[in-house]
Symmetry: C2
Subunit: 339 residues, 2 copies
């Protein structure tokens, strides 16, 4: 049985979508329990009339809410009765295996650092992004924005944690770990990537060398290792390119009668592509390197997208992602010559 601590109040459409996502998860999985933190009187209305296993859903009243406008560190320190901090403390105290929140990214990261706590040996926990690819299998980008101005040793750790996530959650046997870079040749890149390349070459990973950003959505690697600034640029550029293309396709497809007919007939195909490229289906951003499974859901998640994050958190718990990251240093001390 896996216990998920859920921040009911985080996100643009909370608590409606968070509650509905929880109900979907309770129906889909009989091996989870949910501890739902938030204002009980706002949560209850969304439960009435719904069928679910009430024995596995506990509501824990938390009066405060952390908003997107607040300074994350301060909010996490002071708003001790917020739904987010209470859910995080629940993980820290061992009552829950995982924290799921659609709240502010900064606050979720701060909660991971301050309230749940770093795993020994992980200087910089990372926020990974899981992206769908044309190859069919999702890819892990780590770091996707938690850490800018990184040092090579951070990136080595990101690589190790991304590798564990790819194995344990995505079920990839021997993940291809690539170093995000502007060229494939070993000598290419900036100071950071050149130094990181040296570290990764001798690490106990299936390191496949430098990979260009072109490969991110095309299956160029299973794990893309990068500074959070670079990861964030690549993710947003990809999103922007897809949005631009859909804007232009829509404009052109509605510009003549024939193309309108064509568009109508192709609609199901377009819908399938949109669904496959939908980042929500692969879940949210897993925070790696803290002493609990943490999943940051998109702020504008639908209830199904939030459900996907709960499913992902359950997979992280089931796959013992945290426990395996905790053992990274033991493995290293036990004979890995790389660090």
């Amino acid at each position: 049985m896996y216990t998920l601590a859920v921040d009911a109040m985080g996100g643009d459409f909370a608590p409606e979508i968070t509650v509905k996502g929880c109900l979907e998860a309770l129906r889909a999985f009989d091996d989870i329990r949910i501890r739902l933190f938030g204002r009980e009187e706002e949560i209850r209305p969304h439960l009435s009339g719904e069928e679910y296993d009430a024995a596995r859903l506990e509501i824990l009243d938390a009066r405060d809410v952390i908003t997107n406008d607040e300074a994350p560190m301060l909010a996490v320190r002071h708003k001790t009765d917020s739904s987010l901090v209470r859910a995080a403390m629940d993980v820290r105290q061992g009552n829950a295996d995982a924290l799921i929140s659609a709240g502010s990214t900064g606050a979720v990261l701060a909660c991971g650092m301050l309230r749940i706590g770093r795993i020994a040996g992980v200087d910089r926990p990372a926020l990974a992004a899981i992206v769908p690819t044309a190859a069919g299998v999702p890819a892990v980008i780590v770091d996707a924005g938690a850490n800018v101005d990184c040092r090579p040793e951070y990136l080595l750790r990101f690589a190790q944690m991304g590798d564990i996530y790819a194995r344990q959650v995505l079920g990839i046997q021997n993940p291809r770990v690539g170093l995000l870079n502007i060229g494939e040749e070993e000598e290419k890149g900036c100071q950071l990537t050149k130094a990181t390349h040296e570290l990764l070459k001798t690490a106990k990973l299936n390191f496949t060398g430098n990979v260009e950003a072109r490969g991110v959505l095309n299956g160029g690697a299973d794990v893309f290792v990068c500074d959070g600034y670079h990861g964030n640029l690549v993710i947003k550029a990809s999103e922007g390119a897809i949005a631009a293309l859909f804007t232009m396709l829509k404009r052109e497809l509605t510009s003549t009668f024939v193309s309108k007919v064509g568009a109508a007939l192709s609609k199901p195909a377009f819908r399938r592509v949109k669904r496959r490229m939908n980042v929500n289906e692969v879940g949210g951003g897993p925070m790696l390197g803290v002493r609990g499974a943490v999943v940051k859901a998109h702020g504008n998640s639908t209830s199904h997208a939030f459900f996907c994050c709960l499913r992902q958190a359950r997979q992280m718990a089931a796959g013992q992602v945290v426990e395996i990251i905790e053992k990274l240093d033991e493995q290293i001390e036990g004979g890995n010559e790389n660090v």
Copy 2:
């Protein structure tokens, strides 16, 4: 009359496509002269039977060729009879206004630096990228890969040169200059972007603040200022996302009979989108900050794509891009309080 020095031998399909591109340009513009450098016996066959104004095309025999596999700096130093170096020297000696080459990016940049020479006050010439956007007007990304590990002052110069290019070549009246960043808030970013933000805020530019990579293909700014490493990541991520989307659309559109019919009817619309997103139509990458207009064409350019680069070089010469960049420091000394 503008004189273009063309490297006939650079690129994957040279000299066929370079010669054909030149012929298209001679027919399109009667105010250009072309000085074509390369192996005369390889160039001549592509001219036979073609109609063009022979008085404006001069072939200058150059025996050597610089390949993609060579170390750019060494090649540019030693292969003095290569088509690329000869064409660059032609610009340096004042015989031509512009250099156009589809050869190795590194070699073209090295030629710009070593053979044509930097403009006084420009520490780091940049390679810009011109990208089509869903908004209809192309955008300038500068730097797009010539300089990794930049300092804030380099980025200020990139911004000024990108602004000049946008005005003089793209005809944008008051270009919106944005600092590529991972968030729009002023305090967001890495050390480099934070320091650059301060410089740009007080520069004599229409600085519109930080812009996210999402905005690149969607008209979020006219000029995106960034470190070459970041610019290159964003361009390649965008290309990759578009390629991934087309791969998936193709797969889905051919998966059922109905969608195949729909795809057939929508084909002209798709073609229009592909044409509009075609980077070749906007030309190649202009090198900014050297004492001549330099355009790097894609290595796999078609003859029409190469023609677009010649048109672009002509526009750079006509718009006096080089001369205006040369005067940047005068303006600054003459009362601009910003630097």
